[in-house]
């Protein structure tokens, strides 16, 4: 990620600090609100999907057309995405309209009308939407909209969108005082009433088991670790060694040596507790998918055991490329089906997201500094731990 000056501004007692990514050279301002999600069951996650689809459709005090025009003047569009641990609401604006964008996001979080017809339309459309094979492999979620009512979505909206559960981040040529004032205004009288009664949904979120076409998606899913895990830099470095870049173990062994796959990558995937390391390969090989997953594991374990100082150096170089030079071949998959990039939108998001996740803003220099201290044996152990703790998951091709 390209380095930026990141400021954290303390605000009123009921709101989280605002993170500001100061980039005077940027021509636009990016405003993002990150809403933290708890662990959810199948119905709640489907409700969250409906919420993400509809919450900006009708908002008191703002016409949708005016807001689209505001974003368009900056060449931007409004984006709302759902991930397992957060809801992301982002809008771009010209610097002169930054406070309007902040207020607008405040209104989306507080004053969405969540119209019944929009919810019904989204519920009807979502199951029929197709995504790319890669996007499906990364998030093979199967939404369960059975018997969801508007009241359920409204309850979830009020339960999630509270000032203490939202992290705001603003990036670009930011006027800190103006942003602070705007967000204070937007949150000052944002009092949390009695929260809707909540009973946990015991049914886990369902996963797709197969995909159309000739390519099966073969995955090794590693053991989840916490967001504040002190070994995080070592684990990210091990993921880069395993599957980021064309010098990685996955590329060398699964593509170049075995010719099993065109695309194969490691992914750091967000969970409500922390992160999950994942290794995904798309393959049209005729080997039964579960056998291929086991063979993939054996091949990678063998590769890691042979790693030497040159593999560690390559991973460190690649990490520098990703975090300081904006390489897109990153394991940080905090977008629905692609990694965070060095765009202003993603830098702004990452600053706020990392604060939510770890208690401190993203700092690539600190992480790279920690990575430079990782020994070869720790690097190999971390990679072997990811592989040995992993379970195979496959999406079988049926084409």
């Amino acid at each position: 990620m390209i380095a930026s000056l990141v400021l954290v501004i303390a605000l009123s007692q009921n709101a989280n600090p605002v993170t500001e990514v100061v980039d005077p050279s940027a021509k636009i301002v990016s405003v993002v609100a990150i809403v933290k999600l708890p662990t959810m069951g199948a119905h709640e996650y489907a409700e969250a999907k409906l919420l993400a689809e509809t919450m900006a459709n009708e908002v008191d005090g703002y016409s949708q057309s005016d807001m689209k025009d505001m974003a368009a003047r900056a060449g931007e569009s409004r984006k709302i995405t759902l991930m397992p641990d957060h809801l992301r609401i982002q809008v771009g604006a010209l610097p002169a309209e930054a406070t309007t964008a902040v207020n607008y996001i405040g209104h989306i979080l507080r004053k969405s009308r969540l119209p019944e017809d929009a919810l019904t339309k989204a519920e009807a459309e979502i199951p029929f939407r197709t995504r790319s094979l890669w996007a499906t492999a990364i998030e093979p979620v199967k939404y369960d909209f059975h018997r969801i009512k508007r009241d359920d979505v409204v309850d979830l909206y009020h339960r999630l969108c509270r000032p203490d559960n939202v992290w705001l981040s603003v990036g670009g040529p930011v006027d800190a005082t103006a942003i602070e004032t705007a967000w204070n205004d937007a949150t000052r009288d944002w009092t949390v009433g009695r929260l809707p009664r909540w009973s946990p949904d015991p049914k886990p979120v369902g996963e797709i088991q197969d995909v159309p076409g000739s390519e099966s998606m073969i995955e090794l899913r590693g053991k989840e670790f916490l967001g504040d895990d002190p070994a995080m830099p070592t684990k990210i470095l091990a993921l880069i060694g395993l599957g980021s870049g064309k010098g990685s173990a996955m590329f060398a062994r699964l593509r170049q040596t075995k010719a099993w796959s065109y695309r194969q990558e490691t992914i750091l995937w967000p969970t409500t507790q922390g992160f999950e390391p994942r290794l995904i390969m798309a393959s049209g090989d005729q080997t039964p998918p579960m056998d291929l997953a086991n063979a993939m594991k054996d091949e990678l374990v063998d590769a890691v055991k042979s790693w030497d100082q040159s593999d560690l150096s390559r991973a460190e170089g690649m990490a520098q490329g990703i975090f300081e030079r904006g390489f897109t071949m990153s394991p940080l998959y905090f977008n629905p089906s692609w990694p965070v990039t060095s765009s202003l939108d993603d830098r702004t998001f990452l600053a706020g997201y990392w604060t939510m996740k770890t208690g401190r803003p993203w700092n690539s220099s600190t992480i790279l500094g920690s990575m430079a201290l990782v020994s070869l044996s720790d690097f190999k152990d971390a990679a072997l731990d990811i592989l040995n703790s992993s379970q195979p998951h496959v999406l079988t091709a049926h084409g």
Binding site: A3, R73, Y262, G284
Partner: protein, 382 residues
């Protein structure tokens, strides 16, 4: 004395033009654009496809050559990545692109790498067969949006609109001799452009790139064929979704500016839309589509009585679409390099000028280009 030196330094920096284009005797072109605030240098080689257009018998051969060339001598990627540098290659309709992303002091490394890639490799049937196994996976993973786009291109332009990815049916006929011929045509000296953007000295970078390209021979191949002619129509694609293409002339025409603005405006109104346009001097397509539904987009376009309310937004989106690409070293080297590989006078400012000059009437025409009567329509069958 100190202040005098500072003044000279300032003047020197101010005196440098924003960018420098150099045309060498062999017809190859170098473009250098200093961007001192950028953290990386992007060095991009474009090898024009003008001497090797896609045909049904060679469909995808350029793509196959790209795979075989970009791998280098085998350890190239490891060496680059260890130095926090990255190489990626892509086969586009009008050119093959090889990009090296390097740090501020690594321009020589990037050019040395390109020098290695410009030495003609020896292709073997074993290498070809092995790479085809991987490429079969690549083709099988093609996104719905690309399948729709490919179908629309073929419907509009027939065999002159074949996509650059290729098909397995044609690629499996590749032999070392055929690929050797494709390589010679693809990497002819007068079809090459090196575009460099980032924290570089304009004169030094130009001299370094010149030393690389100047020794290469000019082509002896016949001149390119006349421009392709598009027609409205319908096509089916193997994927899911729907897509409409406006048939447009070259990138610097008012029609293309209007169609691009219209596509982006439509995309801002219909949720989940994609817009695809790769600037080309030839007749082409501006595409807008969606892969989450097979209906709704066409109904919206055909039912749009007037675009008056969208005009301002459309103009802003189109302008930003170009400017956004010119905001990073990679984007600058890509857009300028791609256009120069199609002719030495091409530059993105011509496109911006047309967008700025677009009238409401022209914008209405841009929207009309996407209506059933005028557009090429692709619908997914899955």
């Amino acid at each position: 004395m100190l202040s005098l030196i500072a003044t000279f330094a300032l003047l020197s920096a101010q005196d440098q033009p924003p960018r420098l284009r150099t045309i060498l005797d062999n017809g190859s072109i170098i473009l250098v654009e200093p961007m001192p605030q950028e953290p990386v240098i992007s060095v991009q080689l474009f090898a024009s496809a003008k001497y090797v257009p896609e045909t049904t018998s060679t469909h995808g051969f350029r793509h196959l050559v790209e795979h075989l060339v970009a791998v280098g001598e085998g350890t190239l990627d490891r060496k680059l990545e260890t130095q926090a540098c990255f190489l990626q290659a892509e086969t586009l309709r009008d050119a093959m692109q090889i990009e090296l992303t390097v740090g501020p002091n690594q321009l020589q490394l990037a050019l040395d790498t390109l020098s290695g890639l410009l030495k003609k490799p020896t292709f073997t049937q074993d290498e070809i067969d092995k790479e085809l196994r991987v490429m079969r996976d690549e083709l099988a993973m093609e996104d719905d949006s690309l399948m729709l786009a490919s179908a629309a291109w073929h419907a509009a332009y027939g065999d002159a609109g074949l996509d650059p990815l290729g098909t397995f049916d044609s690629m499996y006929r590749a032999t070392p001799e055929k690929l050797s011929d494709v390589y010679d045509r693809q990497f002819a000296g007068d079809g090459l452009v090196i575009a460099i953007a980032g924290p570089v000295d304009i004169d030094k970078a130009t001299a370094m790139a010149s030393a690389l390209l100047a020794p290469l021979a000019r082509s002896h191949f016949p001149l390119p064929k006349p421009d392709r002619i598009g027609k409205p129509g319908r096509a089916q694609a193997a994927g899911f979704g729907e897509c409409r293409g406006a048939i447009v002339p070259g990138f610097d025409s008012p029609q293309t500016a209007s169609a691009l603005a219209a596509a982006l405006a439509i995309g801002s109104e219909v949720p989940g839309c994609f817009v695809i346009y790769t600037p080309t001097v030839q007749n082409g397509l501006v595409l807008v589509g969606r892969t989450d539904s097979t209906n709704g987009l066409g109904m919206y376009i055909d039912g749009l009585a007037s675009g008056a309310e969208l005009y301002g937004r459309a103009k802003a989106l189109a302008r930003e679409w170009v400017l956004r690409q010119l905001a990073t070293a990679s984007g600058v080297a890509y857009l300028r390099g791609l256009l120069l590989s199609q002719g030495p006078a091409n530059r993105p400012e011509l496109m911006i000028d047309q967008i700025n000059a677009m009238t409401p009437k022209e914008f209405e025409n841009g929207l009309t280009a996407f209506t059933t009567e005028h557009a090429v329509i692709a619908v997914g069958t899955r």
